[in-house]
Symmetry: none
DNA sequence: TATGAATGAGGTTTCATTCAT
DNA sequence: TATGAATGAAACCTCATTCAT
């Protein structure tokens, strides 16, 4: 069952459309009007459910963060390899969401409330990474650098998605950390 | 002599102001009017020098790329260490320019002409990195992953500049690649 | 017992809130939504009780006019002095209602049905004044001018309520008409 | 030469149209769009000349106050009678401006900057009145009450302009104060 | 009676761009 | 080269009103 076939109420439809359009075109470049048309509701309804455009963005990021967390929770095996595979699987499956997050993290005018959600998620991931790395040396620093590397690969993939290329890198990465 | 005290003609003033405001507030969020006011020229003059807003952005990126290339050229020593030190030095000295580049690389609607300039610069850097790495194994892949790591560190720094943190990472990185 | 502590049904609550908000912020500036929230009922309920916003305004003015008439009726003594004292007492006690009436009288787009209620009340007051003035000369003209003076004082008080100032004027006025 | 035939630049045309429409329909009820159409300019031009709608209102009141002051200055004779005649002449000639002023004085949400202009003008008029009244008793109080009476008559006239009625009152007033 | 989701028109404001000077 | 008035489209948001429940 695809994501689109899930029955959604209007509020969810708006969030869904906003998420997609924000990621595809950017936050400032996406008008409430376009979102409403995409969700097939009236412009006004957006303001019944969300205080303003920023609040809608907040709801999008919240939904996005929740979903990622959800999927991470379902991981049975908790090895570094399975974590990495899961992360990159999500990158491929939800490229748009990841792209939106990146967009927001880098944009200098991203609302503080959004930044906080993204920071929190990042910190949790960092701690998870640290717990799975070999417990020797400066584990925190190692985790940070691993996350930086993951971010860099992500950035590259989002800017220009090339399956073969990212797969090579994932394999290399996992191979390196498995020994 | 600081950057600001250099005598600039009006065209340069416009580029300078645009670069700063695009980086500080985002491209879509920066109006031609604000740029003109910041540069202390009239709005109309912008259109004497640039075809439109996108053309002004192109000029900004061109200037930014040229400057980076210039400074890289002046490098005497061509070791991996000196290259890395120089890259991160530029990140600290011109955080805004780097931030703008990142903004543009990730933004899904960045004009093709801008993307090409940034890609070209990136490819040159990649080849330089590859030439300085130990010539064994898949050097291209190693260079790509090193660049990913640099990008990830850059992303982190731009999102929240912390001197101590980035210095630790730079030292770690150089130490690792020096052996 | 204060006005607020009177037990009111929902319809009365809506009128009460509308009256207050119309007076405090103006008719056009007050949305049905704000009124409903202030009255702690749903927006839809307003339309169960009133045809539309204008009808709600009409109900407000009706309630306001009725209350003023009521209080005037309870006057035992019917001298000019007691009438004047009562009028200004009401101005002080129900400044908001008076302000709303003034707002509506002056506004060029006040609905005819509202204007009629206010005119009728005004005409009754005028006749009452005329009946209490010394029956010599052009009593109607004298009454009109006295009412104009009362209106001017009211206007002044509503625009900037100053107890001491209005009291001085009331005393002066009563003193003048008592001889 | 009528007021309308004076050659006006676009900024003046906007102020002129705004003044008229604000007075005819109320401030909140008059959209920038209607003003622009009435002045036969584009909506956007309004924002070239005025910061926002409130700033346009301020400009209207400023123009209105200036004009009244101007005409008062041209008074040769400075007797109470000539002042009163002039005041009521202006009321008849510029009923709309006066109506707008009244509207604003009574409206609870009139911007402070507008209130200040109107208060200043009122205070000047009050002092002029006081200087022309017989210098005996509480001249200030007498002037205030005279102004209240003038205001009340004005209010009445604006709400329902009746030439005969106001003329009777003016004559009565002048006759009373001339002895 | 009571709720609040839903609509569509319209309001204020911004902005890229053009053009007369 | 330089200015800033002028335009028109489009953005965000509000609101009176309706309607299914």
């Amino acid at each position: 069952m695809t994501e689109q076939s899930v029955i959604m109420n209007n509020k969810e439809k708006i969030i869904h459309s906003a998420l997609q359009l924000f990621a595809e075109n950017g936050y400032a470049e996406t008008s409430i009007d376009k979102i409403a048309k995409h969700a097939k509701v009236s412009k006004g309804l957006t303001y019944t459910h969300f205080k303003n455009k920023e609040d809608l963005l907040r709801a999008c990021v919240e939904a996005s963060v929740l979903q990622l967390t959800d999927e991470m929770m379902q991981l049975q095996e908790t090895s570094l390899e399975s974590l990495l595979r899961n992360l990159f699987h999500q990158l491929k499956a939800h490229t748009q969401r990841v792209q939106l997050s990146l967009l927001l993290v880098i944009h200098p005018k991203t609302p503080e409330v959004v930044n906080e959600m993204l920071s929190k998620q990042r910190e949790e991931l960092l701690q998870l990474l640290a717990s799975l790395l070999p417990q020797q040396g400066d584990v925190r620093l190692e985790a940070e650098l691993l996350l930086n590397l993951i971010d860099g690969i992500t950035l590259d993939y989002v800017a220009d998605p090339q399956e073969a290329q990212i797969n090579t890198r994932i394999d290399y990465l996992i191979n390196k950390y498995n020994t």
